[in-house]
Symmetry: C2
């Protein structure tokens, strides 16, 4: 059994803290030594991706200290305990089993007589069979016509991850003739969200997936009712158009209002649920089950790397360690994620949830306050768009904000033009290469307004193309990074008690059970 200690109780962290500003990244990356670092500070990821951290504020001394920290914090032991079924989610007394949904890793975990890996796989197979029937026209609407559109109704983890993955593969699937159905997403309780989606589709040929683990999520139940109402008004039978993804004990599970139900359980948290039926049903319908299986394979390959004890062969753990060095030693409050890929336009929003909801905590896993900062603010937009937006502050602002780039050599669709001797894809790649060096090395200028201090650290994940496999690897990389950071900060990354109070107060507002400021705001908003 691993020992869980606060970060500041680890001797290796003390040593690491002594290495504040140890590497001058501007100096290190300027000149030929920069090229040496780019070649040296790189580690393979799954599916042909690589994690290059040459422009991070590390050298062999810092890396040795990070290796000591990984060892003292028993990071890979903790990971093994997690995927082998320990109660890692201490707050809610739950297992954390999203890795089992990728099939390959760890021992079998039996809970109440159920082999959990088999359970997750069985639900994926059920989703695959169902999707094949829909695609083959064996499951149809009431008029016997094929369904053309699938709409996911969910919020948070039931929305952000699956939506980011759908957008990531939408164009790839079209280019590779595996696009089966168009997918849309309804998440917000704002009625304009559901109304706009309903107005944009042919509801008679649409399947709707209601995704809520508990079966009690306010937004999702409301939007499900919203959709049922619209179906009924069109003279359609909602029970012939609606699916449920929920836990077996939820009110949705056994309702005859749903054409089919697919199951999840309490051991896969919402923000880690893209690999489960939460992502599986919608992605199998949209792209075909084989494509979803390829995403899982990519994730599983990355998971395997995350078991390596050697930090230089474990890109997920290494990325996590560098992030903790930046947050707790260097003192940087935010991190920005910058994919040079339009297909990853909503991937930063997914990471924002996955990271900030997991590690935005002030108490450790034993419920005691911690004396150090934990999860940073995460934000990002795709490059090159971001370059024409907030990069000004990243280059010349008063705070240093570490950067996490992602880039691919090839586009997904393959349409391109050559202008002034280069394709758009080459221009895209040239920009990300240029930005890394600009951020690290800066540029001197007598006019201080045109001077770039440099010294702004970044890493880049490089791949050949964004495919189902590399997307799966990318997803798992960040999930595992976040998990390792939670281990380092000694927080429980798998609960989210911070979302409860707002829910309780919103119910009071709707029940008109308010006083003081709550009543005053309710009155202002005429509730």
């Amino acid at each position: 059994m691993a020992t869980w200690k606060n970060l500041d109780k680890l001797a290796a962290f003390d040593k690491l803290a002594g290495l504040k500003n140890h590497v001058d990244i501007k100096e290190a990356m300027t000149g030929e030594n920069g090229a040496v670092r780019v070649a040296k500070y790189s580690t393979p990821m799954a599916e042909g991706l690589s994690f290059n951290y040459a422009a991070k504020e590390v050298d062999d001394t810092v890396l040795a200290a990070l290796a000591d920290l990984a060892k003292e914090a028993e990071l890979t032991d903790k990971f093994a305990e997690l995927y082998n079924g320990a109660i890692i989610n201490t707050g809610e007394k739950r297992h954390v089993l999203h890795h089992l949904a990728r099939r390959q890793l760890g021992e079998d975990v039996i809970v109440d007589g159920v082999n959990k890996r088999d359970f997750y796989v069985s639900q994926q197979e059920k989703a695959a069979d169902f999707a094949k029937k829909v695609h083959a026209g064996e499951v149809t609407n009431e008029a016997g016509e094929k369904f053309t559109t699938v709409v996911q109704i969910g919020i948070g983890g039931s929305d952000l991850g699956p939506r980011a993955l759908y957008i990531a593969l939408e164009n790839w699937a079209k280019a590779n003739n595996t696009a089966k159905m168009e997918a849309k997403f309804i998440s917000n309780v704002d009625p304009d969200d559901a109304a706009a989606v309903l107005n944009s589709i042919d509801v008679a040929h649409s399947l709707f997936i209601v995704v809520s683990k508990s079966g009690t999520t306010l937004e999702t139940l409301t939007n499900a009712a919203f959709v049922k109402d619209a179906l009924t008004k069109e003279g359609l039978d909602p029970s012939k158009h609606m699916l449920a993804v929920t836990s077996e004990t939820s009110p949705l599970a056994k309702s005859d209002e749903y054409l089919e139900a697919f199951f999840m359980d309490d051991f896969i948290g919402g923000r880690f649920s893209s690999s489960s039926a939460v992502g599986g049903v919608v992605l199998s319908l949209a792209f075909g089950p084989d494509i979803f299986a390829r995403v899982l394979n990519g994730a599983a390959e990355e998971d395997k790397l995350a078991t390596n004890e050697n930090i230089l062969e474990n890109p997920d753990m290494l990325d996590a360690l560098i992030g903790v060095y930046e947050r707790n030693v260097q003192g940087y409050p935010s991190t920005t994620v910058l994919p040079y890929s339009q297909a990853l336009s909503r991937f930063p929003a997914h990471l924002q949830q996955c990271d900030m909801e997991s590690n935005g905590k002030s108490v450790n896993r034993f419920g005691e306050p911690v004396d150090y900062v934990t999860g940073p603010t995460i934000f990002g937009e795709p490059g090159t768009n971001g370059q024409h937006s907030f990069y000004q502050l990243l280059h010349q602002g008063t705070d240093i904000i570490p950067l996490q780039f992602v880039g691919f050599k090839d586009s997904q669709i393959g349409m391109d033009v050559e202008i002034e001797g280069s394709t758009s894809q080459k221009k895209l790649c040239a920009n990300v290469a240029a930005q890394i060096v600009a951020f690290a090395c800066g540029k001197d200028d007598e006019d201080l307004n045109k001077k770039f201090d440099g010294g702004r650290p970044s890493s880049i994940i490089i791949g050949k193309q964004l495919t189902p496999e590399s997307l799966g690897a990318l997803l798992a990389h960040f999930e595992n990074k976040i998990m390792f950071q939670g281990f380092l900060w000694n927080v429980n990354s798998f609960d989210q008690e911070g979302v409860q109070l707002g829910k309780v107060l919103a119910k009071r507002v709707l029940a008109h059970d308010t006083d003081g400021a709550l009543k005053a705001y309710s009155d202002l908003l005429e509730i």
Copy 2:
């Protein structure tokens, strides 16, 4: 003439700095005093909006100090100098005239014999005439058929603002029968961006607007060429499908490759250009020129409020002052913008550019380094979505992040359902009211994992409905807030030298003129 001084050279700032942690917002907002504050700390904005700052860490003492600061920093004098034509953009030696595009404010500004207000208005009128002809079928495609789709090709300010405004009014326009054409946007140099948009539209019935002030923006010229190539391949004449929005001196201005050109100039910066032809052409085509004029009217009304010397009657300046107090006295590094309106889903991305590109600076307007922090990190997503994502960190993370809410009493489309006694719109409003109080007041609990410290400051802008007018007011509010903050930090908010180095290095990569790290990354990406 106003005197430009660094923030830390102002006596009023010294006094303000002495008020660190002066207001315990948890204490202030708990109990009946909270209701008193909600009633008291509110100021009207234009078009029926109101700015409520009861949950910010202010009281009459702090407000008095902020009023002193506004006076000593001569904020309204500086604003008057700006809109009356002083060279406020010191770096590039330019006027800053986006307010004139809203028509009403200030004296006439004559540059090289041209009345600039008349110039901006003339371009809006030209856009209006053109849009009317397109809508009436007087300007058609080569086959004499009506154009149905308009595609904006631009990046940064030529994309984010106009896109955010289009999304904000898309559903409103459909609900009010003023939707004329569907709009799409191509921005990223990633070829998959242009390819995906082209694959999603009927190019034969599409108009494309190439938006670049200089006529030299790499991404935009590349994407324009991409589109011309696609049109030609379809057997269409690009010059019959393409419009330009550019400066009169740009290479695009006099090209016969464009059906029509609309002009802007150097005195309206990209991120402040939504009120100019940059936003005007696409929005007039999409919704009709009357709708765009209503957006401008809303902005103009808000601009008028921004001239008030009394900070309690100037919501834009007050918001700016509170933000500087939070950043420079309280020491908060980020600010999050949380619109409870799905229609404002991309408004935070626009503000991210407008704010971070304007005030992410380390030198003052005289090119001297400043000794204090300037622009914060800005991020946000619509509520209630964000509640199921990063709010965990906002409530229980180790950093305090100030919040800026926006909420409307009515939805735009008007479709709604009543579930458990309330509509979705009421649920949406109940959630934002609940969140403000949850963030401010927190909740005690013996289990520290379930405890909310509170003390997390927020403001809210409340309106009846998101309409063209209120959207214009909202746009101007934030533009003016950012401008006032730039005055306080004594930075030039209107240049962006921090974007140049990346451009220079990207060109070197494409020319294979690299060495060291730049060559190494280029090789890794196979450029």
